[in-house]
Symmetry: C2
Subunit: 377 residues, 2 copies
């Protein structure tokens, strides 16, 4: 049964509003998924994620596999119970992290051999194994093992890599179809389109995974160093091929401008470490632009962090106080900045959805991007 319902499509752009059903609740798209690498979204409590409107979080299979590991996760009844999060979870396959290890991994037809960044121990991820691990994690949305080609890469490399990803997609699906959820809630499997910056490869890859029939489709291998215009071009090309009745997920993207643009190109789901990682570096995303809270100009600033964003942090503390917390290296600074940045990202996708439903997406998106990039720093 198809879990995704398309509610509205914008007439001026390709923007869509939809709902994805899971046993842990509905996900209203377009949506941003906060990244919870190791069973926690860094520096924010689970109840605070709910408070700021998070509907789904992302977990990293590679990290969870290494720590706390399958034995612990199995014993606790999966990641939801372990971390006390009762809304949906999407897990990546671990492939991206493993490929990031560079010197510590080796790709074969069977899968990828890698050394743990924690203790150097050797492990192998295969399409079958990453399904098994994600069954143990109990994520609502499972991602398949794929190869994320580096940028830039030759056509030859991209084609071979894409072919491998397709063979693995078949094995991922077979492993998924012949295994069962462990904790009584349903899990669904997405597929990932690759092909680097080569449109014919993107077309072929997507056409072939769509033929295999997955519950959702992701665009992988972008936001790896290419120009934003190239990324948008590939996204626009990809969403032409992706089926309308399935959710579309642009992996690892991105800035507020990237997200607003990609929504207009027909993307439904996003994840990125940017709001959380940048928060910990003192970079705030606000409705008034991107700011560095350490800047001396905020020393005496008694304005709220962001009165338009609905979070405890945004609405109860001044820029001057937050600056003080960062200057004094206080943990509360990381907490408040994280809470605000995630609330801003969730405000962004929620507002985008409202504008799509009102038929005002194009104008709103244009104004947002013009204003956002003109302000700040």
């Amino acid at each position: 049964m198809n879990k995704f319902e398309l509610i509205a499509t914008d007439s001026d752009t390709k923007a869509r509003a939809g709902v994805l059903q899971t046993d842990h609740g509905e996900i209203e798209t377009p949506i941003f998924m906060p990244v919870g690498t190791q069973g926690t979204v860094k520096a924010i409590e689970q109840r605070e994620l709910t408070e700021i409107g998070a509907q789904v979080i992302l977990g990293n299979t590679y990290h969870l596999y290494l720590r706390p590991g399958e034995e612990v996760l199995g014993q606790f009844g999966g990641l939801h119970k372990f971390m006390n999060w009762d809304k949906p979870i999407l897990t990546d396959s671990g492939g991206y992290q493993v490929f990031s290890l560079k010197e510590l991994r080796k790709i074969t037809e069977n899968g990828v051999l890698f050394s743990s960044h924690l203790d150097g121990s050797k492990h192998t991820f295969t399409p079958e194994r990453v399904i098994e691990i994600q069954r143990c994690i109990g994520s609502d949305i499972i991602m398949p093992l794929d190869e994320c080609a580096p940028h830039p890469c030759t056509y030859e490399y991209a084609k071979n890599s894409m072919e491998l990803t397709l063979r693995w997609a078949m094995r991922n699906k077979e492993a998924f179809d012949t295994s069962l959820p462990r904790y009584g809630h349903e899990q669904i499997l997405f597929a990932i389109g690759q092909g680097s910056v080569y449109k014919d490869l993107r077309t072929e890859c997507l056409a072939r995974i769509v033929e295999m029939d997955f519950d959702g489709y992701a665009i992988g291998g972008l936001a790896v160093g290419e120009e934003a215009e190239i990324m948008y071009d590939i996204v626009n090309h990809s969403t032409e091929i992706m089926p309308k009745n399935k959710p579309r997920y642009l992996m690892g993207v991105g800035t507020p401008e990237n997200i607003v643009t990609a929504i207009g190109l027909g993307v439904d789901m996003f994840d990125c470490v940017m709001p959380t990682r940048n928060a910990r570096n003192g970079t705030l995303f606000t409705t008034k632009g991107k700011i560095n809270i350490r800047n001396a100009k905020y020393k005496f600033n008694n304005e709220l962090i962001d009165s338009e964003v609905n979070s405890y942090a945004s609405q109860n503390f001044s820029l001057g106080y937050l600056r003080h917390l960062f200057m004094a290296k206080e943990i509360l600074g990381l907490q408040l900045a994280t809470q605000h940045n995630l609330a801003f990202y969730l405000w962004l996708v929620k507002t985008a959805r409202e504008k799509i439903l009102l038929g005002q997406y194009r104008q709103w998106a244009r104004n947002f991007i013009d204003n956002y990039t003109a302000k700040g720093f």
Copy 2:
């Protein structure tokens, strides 16, 4: 007007239940004050302090003076508004921190000259200056500049130091009486009894400050390395001399056992970095004893952190999950451990108060200490 009302005194021990009125609300004693050194209690949000029952927090004049500094605090209308905390604040005088600098400070009759630990810049704290700074901070309860003698120290040193503290107490009071609050709420001034481990010096110091008439009296210079039995002996001696109708504050103490014992000796107020600092090291104070959450035995432990302690952290996450957060060096671990430990300390003093009001303090305290020290680790 006396701000302190004594509600009940235990018949078997010297334990008391009282209420201290401030313009930012009532403080029900006995009370523990979480330490908020730099305008934040480390790793916990202000609303969470309220949630776990914090009635008053402590700020450090030395740290706040250096950063964010008087200019910022004055501009924001004081520390309450700066940090968005609308309950009472007690500030120390900065003396203790300055004396801890050792090589960086010099004591004279006038005050203490010190070098900032941040940038080496030179500063002087005098009794008059620390009142002025605390007027700028806007704390509800002001502590005077005193000399905290090291342990051990000779009778001669302790006597001279005590005499200096008394001369400074007079100047503190004069500066307080001839200055006004800056933000429209009342501030009160406590005095500090010194005298090291020498009872006759303690007697003399307390008698003379009581004669000067302050709004509350503190026992300083303890928990600086002496045996617990010596500390209890000095506390017991001091509370015999301290007036019944004023709050009694034992500075910088201590462990749960220390607090339960000192309440039985007639102390009303406590502060200590132990619950917050130890939380960040993975040491939890629980109703089942003190534990090190990193211990491998908690790896698969699915029990709540502490079902008897009323905090989000204590009641919603397992020991196994908290251990994982510490092993993975996740900030959420610091947040949950801090929240739990402070909630435990506040549970402890709240329960102590209830037992005093029920006339059951002695039995409860004895059981608590027996159980607490027998369990854990």
